[in-house]
């Protein structure tokens, strides 16, 4: 729904003008999830009352309630269905249009980090030049943040006194922290459950201020249908090669720019692309906003 119904201009206008909208992840609100108990109870009340009213409840649904929290509709599916239910509710309750109660803002901003941390923004999308519509969900672009401590990101830099031409293998834990995110959006349990079968991240000092990274990856993903338990020996789903560029100040020992892009990447036969870039912390006085540049 995020890519279709919740990206529909009419849906956006109706939710902003007449409703108070919220979204929740079942990962946080199930028995082992991180949401506070009162939060879980509040959502569960809505679900329970909706079920008692024989509304079409489900785990991926939009629940509409009165201002007092009494469920009156439950909707999934295409934008047209959602629009119809939203309009029906507005008419039934006589709601007057107004400005959004909560100001719209980016839902995935750069996280707050230590001053010397390296924050990387990763975009995983269908390959614009080769996408074939198969292997994963092509409607969504995944965006992850990977934050490295100074101790970690130093592993991308050469040892003191290294001469151009020197090579080394980047620390496996540091490489895994990034490469486990190299997959396009699909219903899965997240990068922490991904099963890296084979991986290499070779660094080459190409000049006194630049490191080149050459990457290859084969990885299994824990995806729907979920077999249950902790997955082991998942079949290889992702195969990718990539190149990264790390520019740094050798005197100050700081990374000034990190960029990485896949050369080729497939998941279950579908072509995808990954771009990674460093994003500095906001300077004092800057307004938070969407930190990734957007193509027009």
């Amino acid at each position: 729904m995020r890519a279709v119904a919740l990206a529909n201009d009419t849906v956006i206008s109706l939710l902003n003008g007449y409703f108070v909208p919220v979204y929740t992840s079942n990962d946080d609100y199930d028995k082992t999830g991180s949401a506070p108990a009162d939060e879980k109870a509040a959502l569960n009340n809505i679900w329970t009352e909706a079920a008692q009213k024989e509304l079409p409840v489900g785990s991926v649904r939009g629940y509409i309630t009165t201002p007092e929290g009494d469920p009156i509709a439950c909707v999934g599916g295409p934008a047209e269905t959602l629009i119809a239910e939203l309009r029906k509710t507005i008419k039934k309750l006589g709601t007057r249009e107004g400005k959004p109660v909560v100001e719209p803002r980016t839902q995935n901003p750069r996280p707050n980090t230590e001053p010397d941390a390296l924050a990387l923004h990763l975009t995983a999308r269908p390959d614009p030049e080769k996408q074939n519509g198969s292997g994963f969900w092509h409607d969504l672009v995944g965006e992850d943040w990977i934050v490295y401590s100074r101790e970690e990101w130093m592993k991308f830099l050469p040892a003191d006194g290294a001469a151009p031409g020197s090579t080394w293998d980047v620390d496996r834990a540091v490489a895994t922290k990034l490469l486990s995110h190299f997959y396009p959006t699909v219903e899965d349990f997240g990068h922490a459950t991904n099963d890296i079968k084979a991986m290499s991240m070779k660094a080459t000092l190409v000049s006194k201020e630049r490191v080149r990274l050459d990457i290859s990856l084969k990885m299994g993903l824990y995806t729907y249908p979920h077999p249950g338990g902790k997955p082991t020996n998942l079949p290889t789903a992702v195969e990718a090669t990539a190149t990264g560029v790390v520019d740094f100040d050798p005197a100050k020992k700081v990374i000034t720019r990190f960029a990485m892009a896949t050369k080729s990447a497939t998941m279950n036969g579908g072509y995808f692309a990954v771009a990674v870039r460093s994003v500095p912390a906001l300077e004092n006085g800057q307004k938070p906003g969407i930190n990734a540049p957007q193509r027009k």
């Binding site: 995020r2 108070v20 079942n26 649904r61 109660v101 100001e103 839902q107 892009a261 957007q294």
Partner: protein, 86 residues
């Protein structure tokens, strides 16, 4: 040259052309990395989800709904919709 040998060379030349035509090699300099990073950033249309004024959680949302006399809408899902991983 015998006909069979000419045919063999023709096949080799044709096959080589097909292999090189199939995928343009990337330049040796690394400028293509930054170009791809810029080209593959999310488009405005891929972040329309952010144009909705989302509340922070259910209890806060219900309180605002009551305060502003507006119906409440909560969308439940698996995964992380804010990151496009759902």
């Amino acid at each position: 040259m015998k006909r069979s040998l000419r045919l063999s060379w023709a096949v080799i030349v044709l096959a080589t052309g097909i292999v090189f035509a199939a995928e343009k090699p990337l330049p040796d300099d690394l400028s293509w990395v930054e170009e791809r990073v810029q080209q593959w950033q999310p488009q405005a249309g891929e972040r329309k989800f952010d144009q909705i004024g989302w509340g922070t959680d259910v209890r806060a949302g219900l309180a605002l709904a009551k305060k502003h006399n507006r119906p409440f809408f909560v969308f439940t899902h698996d995964g992380r919709m804010a990151r496009g991983r759902c």
